[in-house]
Symmetry: D2
Subunit: 309 residues, 4 copies
């Protein structure tokens, strides 16, 4: 068995000279203020051990990684009926593209592009007011992470206005096709708050552990989803988790994962561990530059790729 | 350990009443003549055991499954340089779409859509005449399967003319972008012959076993590719192996795989086994209807999904 | 010289049995209530004569025909600089398509598709509040028509909500590209009001007479635009005035024109006359069915086609 | 009445310092050899007077202008039934785009984009061999121009190979949709020869005079098409004659016209005159830079714009 702490330490040591690489997301003003010279990593294994490196305890804006938790909530509410509202195929387009939405009559390609996540948010709301839906999500993530200190960064939520116009376009477009039920402002209010969830690598790895462990969190004993649903969420992350860089991530890393423009990447080694890496500088397709490198190194050194060791 | 023969037997028994379901591909006249009432399945494990059900020994036209073998050959010739000629992302489009090719200046999205496979064929030719390239492929597949009886069905190769116009369009279009080096007629000559490879489920599972076994065939001892390359080919099959049904296959089956319009599906359980299923009737996205069902049953009953058991 | 009143009378007589044909626009609830059994036509010649047939004095919702007046206002304010904000090419797409907007980075194809008209509205606002901009447009149209009785139908303006989502999508999308300066709600408030202008055929023909008469209204002596600008607005109507039916209208009628989903069509015979036809039933591309037929008959019987007699 | 010779002389004098502007088409090797320092213009009025300026007698490759003559031939053969094979709407895309063809199932947008012209060529062939079809076209153009010295430049026809791949793609693509009846090689053989027609400005203006004169050539008395068909061909030239620069040409010049990458532009002032201008240097949308300027000057100084004087 590989010595995981040694692996994390070696990755951290090798990447230290590169910390600060990449370009911090600048289209959300509040995110643009982040110090780029940070890097953290955490691994939680299904037998409940936690491994850390670097800034593993520093909270950051998880942004699109929250789409995984919202998808889990939505599937819990409406089950497989969700797929009438959103597809399950890779989009072949940028995260905020509206083209496909027109060609496919308001049904987004998958739950991990913005349009899809907005539709999922509409499903989760289920007639509730934004405040209640946000509260529900926050409670859910705290429950998953078994950590009441997880918060939503209101400043970041308010700062989404710059990118907000395009999301307003996507939501109104879907509403024109009757694929959004709640008022657009309400749905996007919830959507912007979920993106503003602030979590550390360790919190994130703990919260997602159920996806590595047949749907239950072995550290808390909480059953979250069935084994089958855990597999399926992993499948969606692998095929669709990195927008039009999903194929590349599968090719180089070989783990189901989801990235966010805050510089975080969450990944799952099914049956083995859940993983979070974070560094604010992004590569040119919008994923954390060092985070992606760190995960490739981790997969190579552990043999955790789902595609063979 | 699950009793594999019992699993195959139960799948075969349960599917027997449904044999004949789906619609045989009719755009290639020679394929349209196939008796739809056939179903076979074969599994070869990495420890060299072979399991069979139904028509596992009946040769069929493997069609697009051949793209996996051609990709392996091309990577052997030019290594990672191949990715200057073709991308690695899911296409989000039908197998024969030309739209993306225009938007992306003649570089096909991935090696498993028609345009990408044609570019891969051009790479494999490497200046040789069609006859030689076809010979090389045939020798390679016989070597992989360790079976000299694998053949190419000349009637099927000649019968591709109906669908041929669109492939001629794709090839000429790429040639306009200088992404095809050999004469279009030559490249398509080779391409149509590779699609016409005739193999049984057992031959196919044997031939692809190296992808389940770190790049080497444990039954022959032949080393085909490095473990890393085997993983990467598996990753490409998972994200791109079923055209715009790739996400769905990952969701329901959870194994890297490649389908063909002849009704065959090849799949890999990394570290465990290689699998082939075949039934000529296709579902509405062009994959073998019973083949896909059989694979979903197999993955569920064995726990082989790469996304968790 | 053709006897115009006789021509109008003959057209009216021939079309009388067909009044009621087509399908009233139903996506704006208030428009859906219109009695389809109406047909009117008015011609005003550059020497100031007025010819009428049928319901030429019944006010109707001019909808997209208002885009011609808004374009005239915008050109008056910013001149040729307008073309940095909107293109001058036919779109090849439906009136409310958002696809092109993404491919062309938020610059709409022309001022007569919805996105283009919304951008033009933003230009006309020039920092003013919606109420002022609406007032300015209303004064301008009354001045053009020399008729203070032209009004805006508030019920129709409020009723645009059904189609409104898509226009909100378009406006937010352009704002994301910084091609909308005012708050989206304000711009669309003005936009929905201009579409709700209520005018009769005669009022409309009078208001647009300047486009037939080198930029000045010969009945009032008002100079509106230069002869060059009048030609250019006519050119835009001919190439872009009927969405993806513009080519067809040019082919069959041969006059610059602009249609609206209220069933009105405005057309210009340069140097000769301005024309308005109205019947609420629409053909399958969204233009007034009888209105288009009436204009084709008029052009054929008068020899007014700009493409030859 | 304007003194036309004086107008042409003044245009020629003003443009003389600019001769050589623009960039000669380089994707057809034979065209790339042309001396850019040439400019010619010819006007033929419907009363049979001929006016010339500059290199009005130098033959050049008319390229896409030939599409007007082929359209005339095709309409003569199959009448309005032609529109089952090709549309009549502006494309909103580049001249050689294949995207629209896929979205619209193999029916090209209009007869003046490459795909449309290839479909028109297929119609003109009507079962004949390429040699016969080419002969028919040559006889037709000589008859129109009343000049037996019009030829086809075989070197140019052979030189189309560079751009040829894309045209082969378009033709094969349409054949896949059964919108091409003859072998692709035959259709393109004819197509490349029609593009290689070599004519001077004067020959071109004479050949197209029937479009300005109600369908008949007043100099020869030959009746070519009905007045209605002449109008309709003019309408198509105005809306579709300059690819995705058609709107701009209508805006600035205001005459039906057709350009070619050889640097020629043919235009019609309905009821008045036919016009040809030529200068090899192209502007960035692929039309003759000086040719377009010369036509804008001519329209401004004569008041010939169809959109008003």
């Amino acid at each position: 068995m590989v010595d995981l702490q040694a692996v994390l330490d070696s990755i951290y040591k090798e990447l230290t000279p590169r910390i600060g690489e990449g370009k911090v997301a600048d289209y959300i003003p509040e995110l643009a203020k982040i110090d780029p010279n940070q890097f953290g990593m955490a691994v939680v294994t299904v037998d409940g051990k936690v491994y850390r490196a670097g800034d593993a305890d520093v909270p950051f804006s998880i942004q699109s990684i929250s789409k995984v938790f919202m998808l889990t909530l939505a599937l819990g509410k409406v089950g497989e009926g969700l797929w009438k509202r959103v597809g399950r195929e890779p989009s072949g387009s940028a995260f905020n593209s509206i083209v496909q939405l027109e060609h496919e009559h308001g049904i987004p390609r998958n739950p991990f592009i913005n349009a899809g996540a907005i539709a999922v948010t509409d499903v989760v709301m289920a007639g509730h007011a934004p405040r209640e839906a946000i509260g529900e999500l926050l409670r859910f993530v705290r429950y998953l992470a078994d950590d009441e200190s997880v918060t939503i960064d209101e400043k970041v939520a308010r700062s989404e206005t710059q990118t907000g116009y395009r999301n307003f376009a996507l939501a109104n477009f879907m509403r024109a096709y009757k694929n959004i039920d709640h008022p657009v402002e309400h749905v996007l209010g919830v959507y912007f708050h979920q993106c503003a969830l602030s979590m550390s690598c360790e919190q994130l790895a703990r919260a997602g552990l159920f996806l590595a462990a047949r749907g239950s969190n072995p550290m808390t004993g909480h059953s979250v989803v069935s084994p089958k649903r855990a597999r399926r969420i992993n499948a969606l992350m692998l095929t669709c988790g990195h927008y039009d860089g999903s194929g590349d991530f599968a090719y180089h890393v070989g783990l189901p994962g989801k990235s966010g423009v805050g510089g975080g990447i969450f990944a799952v080694a099914p049956g083995v561990a859940s993983i979070a890496a974070w560094s604010p500088g992004l590569n040119k397709v919008g994923n954390s530059q060092l985070g992606a490198v760190a995960l490739e190194m981790l997969a190579a050194r552990t043999g955790w790729s789902v595609f063979g060791d």
